[in-house]
Amino acid sequence: MTEYKLMKGNEALAEAAILAGCDAYFGYPITPQSEVLEYLAREMPKHNRIVMQAESEVASINMVYGAAGAGFRAMTSSSSPGISLMQEGISYIAGAELPCLLVNVNRAGPGLGTIQPGQGDYFQSTKGGGHGDYRMIVLAPASVQEMADFVFLGFDLADQYRNPVLILSDGAIGQMMEKVKFKPYTRPQTDKSSWATTGKPKTRGRNYITSLHIQPEKMEEHNKHLEEKFRKIRENEVRFEEINTSDADYLFVAYGLSARICQKAMDIARQKGIKAGLLRPITLYPYPYQRLNELASQVKMLLSVELNSGQMVEDVRLAVNGKRPVEFYGRMGGMMPTPEEIVHHLETLIQYHHVN
């Protein structure tokens, strides 16, 4: 039987990276995710893996580009401003179709902001933070257990689709401790020999890693190929969790830490006789548009709760498509709403809409 461990979210994620067979980690320290680099710097050499503190985030992401191109399981992690610095590299990696795992332990912004938790990087993560037409699969953990689980899932999805996968966490999930269990993991067989630059044997032609397609015809062909891949991702990889939705009149939509706070808000609301439910998107890309649209037919109002000024709420509105009122509540700057505060806001909105 696997035993539980008490770990910080960042440490659980780092341990999972080792167990998932991460060959190489490149990173640069930044609060609130420095524990990832610290943990891996201590533990990776024991497993004969590569860990390197690069000179900057720009260097980190390009080292990931190189290692992934050579067929290795590579990852980096950072927090918001550091992830901004990586955007050019991420776009290149997506263009060159290389599998890798990126981790953003979101802090509050813009700019250097503050090191407290935030969800202000939703747009950057899901709508293409770098240039050009590309998407990343974005996983949003809401517990220390998921910080670990999504590393295995993330690496596997990256390999399967030859695409970067982003774990979008936040300062609270990264810093908090909960018990975590590392489940036995079998790495799926993936053959990278057709594209990885592993040294050319006489039996095959040259493998090229590039995001440059100078002829417009070729470039468009590549764009179409990428779009086809993203379509498959949208079809097959939507993940979400529903709590108390079957009889819900009001639906909270929240991810990560906000979803945890909303769970408590939902319990308080139900004690007051307000039938609240929660849809928690686990993948932020691809987004659970279809399920939200179905639920919109059943509930009276939807309330998106986020640690930003209102970003995911735009996707909720796209999903609901005018069927029902979609409202937003958020805190910013590293401040977090209390469950009672959310319930109070919900009660005010119910009165405002006269939907009771």
Binding site: Y4, Q116, M176, M177, R260, Q263, I268, R270
Partner: protein, 193 residues
């Protein structure tokens, strides 16, 4: 998941004081003990600017059911080790809650009448033991005497896990501190208010 069950949490505790008083390790020891007993647990520390010379705090939740929000605004119990923490968290206790404070550092305890307020001279007692750092364990011992949310054995097991191995020679004095805290709280409980 049954949400109504999720609401019945065993204990929602805030531990707060100055950085360096052992606030975070007190909370971590309790969280670890909860894990030893197969409880659901969460330990949410304050981190960042407030920790540098200012106040440190952590929220510890122990529950039989899956824990929803790790961040709370109201608490069943508070262990406060300095005056700013007393001022900040005393108003956030639920009615009937327990407010345990370190009476050597706090001169103005809350005047609320709907909660139990108990002062423990943990700093003085720790100095008598010739190890000021055991103050937090005296407070933890006192807390567990008043709110036995975990078994004694689990705390001792937790202590050995939380304390890095190079400090294991300090396990006996930490155990003594826990027992001393229990004894102090027992005395307080029997004294008429």
């Amino acid at each position: 998941m049954n949400s109504l069950n999720d609401c019945r949490q065993l204990e929602e505790l805030i531990v707060a004081g100055f950085g360096g008083q052992g606030v975070l390790s007190l909370g971590m020891t309790l969280a670890y003990a909860g894990m030893v007993e197969n409880k659901e647990i969460s330990w949410m520390p304050s981190y960042g600017p407030e920790m540098r010379g200012g106040t440190a705090n952590c929220i510890v939740i122990l529950s039989e059911n899956k824990i929803s929000s790790p961040i709370l605004s109201q608490f069943d119990s508070a262990i406060v080790l300095n005056q700013p923490s007393m001022d900040k968290f005393a108003p956030r206790l639920k009615p009937g809650g327990l407010l345990l404070y370190e009476s050597g550092n706090i001169f103005k305890p809350s005047t609320r009448e709907d909660i139990d307020i108990i002062g423990i001279p943990a700093t003085t007692e720790a100095l008598k033991m010739k190890n000021a750092k055991t103050m937090n364990m005296i407070m933890l011992g006192a807390y567990l005497q008043l709110k036995p949310v975990v078994q004694n054995d689990s705390i001792l097991e937790a202590l050995a896990k939380v304390l890095p191995e190079k400090y294991h020679h300090l396990l006996p004095i930490n155990r003594q501190a826990l027992e001393l805290g229990e004894a102090l709280a027992r005395e307080m409980k029997t004294q008429p208010v």
